[in-house]
């Protein structure tokens, strides 16, 4: 058997696992590994400018490709800097394998230089973690890490490796296991047939059905199956912020996003539904509003890979645990069989027609563009900027976002027809996610258009990655919706704090983003008038080989609507504009 050092084992294991890229940053405890990487030459390493960006880039890569993202950092500050990115991935169930260097075994616990208890510090935000104790265990531990990260409900796995275990002179036999089995971890591979039959019956008996699909449909590769089922039934579909793209955004049956800033028709349909099919969604507080007032007349079918997500917030009538893809496929078959075997037409045509009429009337009354049209003002509306982005990219781009108003506008106005195209930090809400995530995607998919929709607040949280984008020629397009305020904070201060803008304004100190982009070797374009919006957007995407920073001055007084009324509101209770509410 081949004899390898621990450092070489890590590099070989990553090669054997088929890893395409490592995102990382070297440092003392990881130097043996980096030296092995230098000699290995097979797996390209992307050197970020801050470890947080390494995790976000690997995360973006994972979200766009479905493969686990790989991160390599050093001990202490390297590891703690990675923590925000790990928590981001954990909240959105994204598969990551994070390898952190650790101080030498004999120094652990002695407050050594750059020591931190990485396993301890990351414990609440990982699916699992390992502290490797013996060189011989490195290959099997990494195999387990990839297996755990990418199966079941995916999530980040930390592998902490003390420096002495990677020493080049200590060699041990290397063999990468073909497969792995863990007696304590056996993710379910299939849903309960009896439950699926019951669910089909309940679905077909519905008079006011809604399909509510979340990020689990995307991570679980169930978008095609969901679309097939929804089309067979002609039932309305709404997607969560994480689920956008799970059902085509331009489809007539699509009600738009639901929740806090969800579409009027989506929230109304949920509130008035009699049967809700929840798939890969977790009844997040941004969706339900006040739980006791959530969908009072609805029976709920809930499909999820994670049993702990079921009945966590809202009681469920038919729970089905397992992979969404196979369950949706079986559910579709059951629905088809029950439709064929039924004595009368199912689902009931006249009640479904009535339901669609009701939905259409909601759409007409307060649909997204109600009372406004594209380009009606000289000042650029942020919504129009997203619309222009959609046009310029023909709806085909990978769009990442940061967190705030721009994120909600992007989720509302860019219509995602495919899964894995809308990439944002939904659960943790991490500002600074957008640019590194876009970088990870562009590296994985160099031919795709990749846009990072951001604001001048968020972009500055990881702006140093403009340098990484130069080094690896990552021509992403940064769509900076600049309103000179922390926009979402300002919106809340407008609505709930009588316009007291506590620490949300910094216009005088903002950099010249055009010059800043140029300083890093990129192209910067400033857009101030609506007439220049679409041309600038088209110019940016025409510059195939250039990162373009579009600094778009938008109306700072714009709010995101609809917005659910809180506290004590139901889903149907929404602000529709600054003056109208339901």
């Amino acid at each position: 058997m081949e004899m390898l050092s621990g450092g070489d084992m890590i590099v070989r294991a990553l090669e054997d696992e088929g890893v395409e890229y490592i995102f990382g940053y070297p440092g003392g405890a990881a130097l043996h590994i980096y030296d092995a990487l230098f000699k290995g030459e097979k797996v390209p390493h992307i050197l970020v400018r801050h470890e947080q960006a390494a995790t976000h880039a690997a995360d973006g890569y994972a979200r766009a490709t479905g493969k686990p993202g790989v991160v390599l950092v050093t001990s202490g500050p390297g590891a703690t800097n990675a923590v925000t990115g790990i928590a981001t991935a954990y909240m959105d169930s994204i598969p990551l394998v994070v390898i952190s260097g650790q101080v030498q075994s004999h120094l652990i616990g002695e407050d050594a230089f750059q020591e931190t208890d990485m396993v301890g510090i990351s414990r609440p935000i990982v699916k699992h973690s390992f502290l490797v104790k013996r060189v011989e265990d490195i290959p099997a531990t990494l195999k387990k890490a990839f297996f755990i990260a990418s199966t079941g409900r995916p999530g980040p796995v930390v592998v902490d490796i003390p420096k002495d275990l990677t020493h080049p002179e200590h060699k041990f036999p290397y063999e990468y296991p073909e497969s792995v089995s863990l007696r304590s971890y056996q993710p379910s591979s299939k849903g309960h047939s009896g439950q699926i039959r019951k669910a089909a019956r309940m679905l077909l008996g519905a008079r006011r059905p809604v399909i509510y699909a979340g990020g689990g449909v995307i991570q679980g590769e169930g978008a095609a199956q969901l679309t097939a089922l929804a089309r067979r039934l002609n039932y309305p579909v709404t997607n969560t912020l994480m689920g956008l793209g799970a059902f085509p955004g331009t489809d007539r049956q699509f009600l738009g996003m639901l929740g806090m800033h969800g579409f009027y028709e989506a929230n109304m349909a949920m509130h008035h539904a009699d049967v809700i099919l929840a798939v890969g969604a977790r009844f997040d507080d941004r969706v339900t509003n006040t739980v006791s007032k959530f969908c009072p007349g609805a029976k709920i079918i809930h499909i999820d890979i994670d049993p702990a997500s079921i009945a966590k917030i809202v009681p469920v009538d038919i729970p089905i645990v397992g992979p969404v893809s196979t369950i949706l496929e079986e559910l579709d078959k059951q629905v088809m069989q029950q439709m064929e075997g039924a004595e009368r037409a199912l689902p009931d045509e006249s009640s479904l027609n009535q339901w669609w009429q009701q939905i259409d009337s909601w759409r007409e009354a307060h649909g997204l563009w109600h009372g406004r049209r594209y380009g009606e003002s000289e000042a650029i509306k942020p919504q129009d900027a997203i619309q222009a982005l959609y046009q310029a990219t023909r709806g085909e781009a990978y769009v990442t976002s940061d967190v705030g108003q721009h994120q909600m506008f992007a989720a509302q106005y860019y219509k995602f027809d495919y899964p894995r195209r809308w990439i944002n930090s939904g659960g943790l809400g991490t500002m600074g996610f957008g640019l590194p995530a876009a970088m990870g995607i562009k590296i994985a998919l160099p031919d795709a258009d990749v846009a990072c929709v951001t604001g001048e607040g968020s972009i500055q949280m990881n702006i140093q990655e403009l340098s990484t984008c130069s080094q690896y020629a990552c021509p992403v397009k940064i769509i900076n919706l600049r309103n000179d305020y922390l926009g979402m904070v300002k919106q809340w201060q407008d609505m709930q704090y009588e316009g007291r803008y506590s620490e949300s304004h910094y216009a005088a100190s903002l950099p010249d983003f055009v010059k800043l982009a140029e300083a890093y070797g990129h192209v910067g374009l400033e857009v101030r008038a609506h007439k220049d919006l679409l041309p600038a957007m088209e110019e940016a995407f025409a510059l195939k080989d250039k990162l373009v920073f579009l600094d778009i001055h938008v109306d700072p007084d714009e709010h995101v609507y609809p917005m659910m009324v809180a506290p004590n509101g139901a889903m149907k209770d929404m602000w529709l504009s600054k003056t109208e509410r339901t």
Binding site: P124, L131, S184, A311
Partner: protein
């Protein structure tokens, strides 16, 4: 309602902290906790008593099962079971108290496992409520120190908790 959850856990470093971390992180309560390796050295058995309604216990059980190191979880209070807690208590035993304490200990079928010039260490094993009653029955005796093992338990009959 009081529940006894029995958990089979991989005997790995850090496994226990994941279980304990889950309880604190999600705001669940731990009343007693007992953990030790089983006859199979690769496995630890952990017994935790907690309180909560059915919904909460279901969530705790589901979250415990999600921990990769957890092999199996059972709620012993769902069926017939036995439970034992062990109490060691050091009391001041002087003058007439010396006999009084001895008698009370015998009534509860406890043992005196250490005899000092002015102290006893008493040992009592049983369900938690019996131990509570014993401490109460000691009455005016000065209790100097108390330690309890926490509840350990098993289902009655042929049901077993095994990997």
């Amino acid at each position: 309602m009081r529940r006894i959850l029995s958990v089979l856990l991989e005997n790995e470093p850090g496994a226990l902290s994941r279980v304990v971390g889950l309880f604190s992180q999600r705001g669940y309560n731990i009343e007693t906790l007992n953990v030790a390796p089983t006859d199979d050295q690769t496995l630890s058995r952990l017994t935790v008593t907690t309180t909560g309604d059915d919904l909460k216990i279901e969530q705790i059980t589901k979250h415990l099962n999600k921990i990769i190191d957890v092999v199996k979880v059972v709620d012993l209070t769902e069926g017939a079971h036995v439970e034992r807690d062990t109490l060691l208590v050091k009391v001041r035993a002087e003058g007439p108290q010396r006999d009084e304490v001895k008698r009370t200990t015998e009534i509860f079928r406890g043992q005196i496992i250490d005899v000092g010039p002015v102290t006893y260490i008493l040992q009592l094993t049983g369900p938690s409520d019996k131990l509570d009653s014993f401490l109460q029955a000691l009455g005016e005796t000065e209790v100097m120190e108390v330690v309890r093992s926490g509840v350990a338990g098993m289902a009655r009959g042929e049901k077993v908790l095994a990997p």
